[in-house]
Amino acid sequence: MENLDYARLQMAFTLGFHIIFACIGMVMPFFMVVAHHKWLKTRNPIYLKLTKAWMKGVAIFFVTGAVSGTALSFELGMLWPEFMKHAGPIFGMPFSLEGAAFFVEAIAFGFYLYGWNKLPEKFHWFTGIIIGVAGVASGILVVSANGWMNAPSGFDYVNGEFINIDPVQALLNPAWFTQALHMTLAAFVATSFGVAGIHAYQIYRGKNIELHTKAFKIAIIFGAIAAFFQPLSGDLSAKDVAERQPVKLAALEAHYVTAKGVPLYIGGIVDEEKRTVSHKIEIPKALSFLAFGDFDAEVKGLNDFPDDELPPVAIVHYAFQIMVGIGTLLMIAGLIFFISLKKKKWQKSKVYWLLFIAMAPLGFIAIEAGWIVTEVGRQPWIIHQIMRTEDAVTPMPGMKYSFFFYLFLYTILVITVTWLMHRQIKTLNKE
């Protein structure tokens, strides 16, 4: 493998790591303030205990997200200096706003963590809300910057020069809304099912059932609602990609030959050499409909694009299948939760809890898959149709060592954080 491949691997790995912590760090504060609100209203000490337990979790995830985010903002330049040299001035705005939002979040966090018994109760609670809102704002802004890479706008590209730069238009690029909506919902779905799954496991084991049931209910509601809207947001995204990045759409579906009334492939094994897909399930005309809202619309196939502008098809196709599959599963799981509110006896069944335990990691897998779809699907471009990834990479050799260094460091961090969460729960059950 070349330097470029290792640089890409490092970017993918560090982003993939950061995304998990960033999502938890931006969604969990909402669970925390709901529990906190219930404590203020009912004065039931269980809610206070839960709030504080979640707060400790948020602190650990927040700091891991913050330091890995700091590393990422450096990495953008350290790995892709040529990209940042040109892109920095154009899409600087979402980053500078994100810096401000992150600042607000950190300030609110200071108030919240240290404000117990020192600040007026309502103000203290309110700083928790600010943590969540500022976190979500940060997420949206960063995704907007990524949207710009998919839908570059706010400049004219003349003879290799970026001129007439309009940062506001770059911020509000055509992809920002669909991508930000999809990501924000995904963060809520993944974190919510993740947290609910952990509490479901405690209920399943019969530990501290009262507390964990309360925790489960608070956490799952967010995810169940978000999971319901996620397919709609996915549909918007697909239509958007179909319009702006037809090659990415074709790669999602491993669709090689341009045709009208194109079927949707579910599953299948992609042969990139022969350009065929075997063992798939076909839904007639569905791709044409999903992409363009018309059963007979023409969908351009990969064969119609120059070979050196094709992304790796198999990876993108598989990742897309995983993302959509999990999205559907979680929507059904959310539905099951809502039905269980009526049919209380479901909650007595072990299978019910096992189901939610099984769902716990899925949302995060879907998030990773989704980012593979959008990032690998954009290749070979770092700025769609403007700059190639290979032209942006650092001239410094030896990225191999850098990659393995991060792999080592972050693997240890993941193990440590998981172990810390385990200790939090054990302590919570003992008390």
Binding site: I60, F62, S68, P89, G92, M93, F95, F103, P395
Partner: protein, 341 residues
């Protein structure tokens, strides 16, 4: 509008050096504290820097975003040629950041605290050293800017700009600035035994700072390092550093008289003067390569990018600074001042 951006660039730099620096310094102070008193120090640090520690480090991100948005050519040189020391800075930031939170939010207190504590202390020492090394690399005059990577040695392009005694001295110098700041700030937060302890530590780090600073200048002067030579030939810079040294006298008076806020202000002013001296003589030429000095203003981005950034920074500043001030006021600093009255 460029002046607004420049203001925020240096403002963020100053606050990162003062607040982020004091934060690193707190770990260094803990490292150099006798084992019997470390626990005590640890609690003081948690109480004092805990509420604002994350905010302290966001100044670095603001700095970074300003650089790449407004001065992309400059940013390019830093991240390309100083890739390795920056990676080491990031390693340090990661380790000490997570160690600080883990040690205070781990649900179980057991032997793992030993590891958190040591990672925090060592990370706190190494991170500012690497930051200083990076800065030393930037101004040391050894960067080779070339597109001809095939014919150049890895060592010449990516190692020797920062892997040299000058950069290393700069690293130690910055670490001692951090420790000096932290010790001076912490004195105002404690009483009785702790006060005496931090006063002693503060004295030690002040002496270390003066010695290391002297060594840095001497080394630069003997080896004809332009950054230092320019410095020594500029009356304003010399005066600033001299004044910074003289201010040690009022600083010690304030500390002895328990004027906590005044002593903090004095320590900050001293560091500000050192930073000002370094920037005044060189601005806008803040990168020194083998061949020439590169101006910060040489590769500014387009007027529209600068204008947009300036407006964003102004709005962001209006939101953040009152919040930050209120946070500091709520948990320390000014509260102490009020008690004094």
């Amino acid at each position: 509008m460029l002046s607004v951006v420049l203001f925020f660039l240096f403002f963020s730099l100053l606050l990162y050096v003062l607040l982020g620096g004091a934060d690193f310094g707190a770990g260094i102070v803990e490292l150099f504290t006798a084992p019997s008193k470390r626990n005590n120090t640890r609690e003081v640090i948690y109480r004092v820097i805990g509420p604002i520690w994350e905010a302290n480090h966001i100044w670095l991100i603001i700095l970074l975003v300003i650089l790449w948005t407004a001065f992309p050519g400059y940013f390019y040189i830093i991240v390309t040629y100083l890739h390795i020391p920056l990676a080491l800075v990031l390693l340090g930031i990661t380790i000490r950041g997570v160690a600080f939170v883990f040690r205070h939010y781990d649900a179980v207190i057991d032997q793992t605290q030993f590891w958190y504590n040591w990672l925090f202390r060592i990370g706190s020492l190494l991170t500012p050293i690497f930051l200083g090394i990076t800065f030393g690399g930037l101004v040391g005059g050894r960067i080779i800017i070339s597109e001809d990577y095939q014919n150049l040695d890895f060592y010449d392009v990516f190692l020797q700009p920062w892997l040299n005694p000058f950069s290393f001295l700069m690293g130690i110098f910055f670490a001692s600035i951090c420790a000096f700041l932290a010790a001076s700030f912490l004195i105002g937060e404690t009483n009785g035994e702790n006060r005496k302890h931090f006063s002693k530590i503060s004295a030690k780090f002040t002496i270390a700072l003066v010695i290391i600073g002297g060594a840095l200048f001497l080394y630069g002067y003997i080896n004809n390092i332009k950054f230092i030579e320019n410095f020594l030939h500029n009356p304003v810079s010399i005066a600033s550093v001299g004044l910074s040294g003289l201010l040690l006298i009022p600083l010690w008076k304030f500390i002895n008289n328990e004027r906590r806020l005044a002593s903090r202000f004095m320590a900050s002013l001293q560091v500000f003067l050192i930073l000002f001296a370094a920037l005044y003589v060189h601005f806008p030429y803040l990168i020194y390569t083998e061949e020439k000095e590169i101006s910060l203003l040489e590769s500014t981005s387009s007027a529209s990018s600068i204008e947009n950034l300036a407006i964003t920074l102004l709005i962001g500043g209006l939101v953040i600074l009152p919040g930050l001030f209120h946070l500091m006021k709520s948990f320390n600093g000014i509260e102490v001042y009020e008690n004094e009255k």
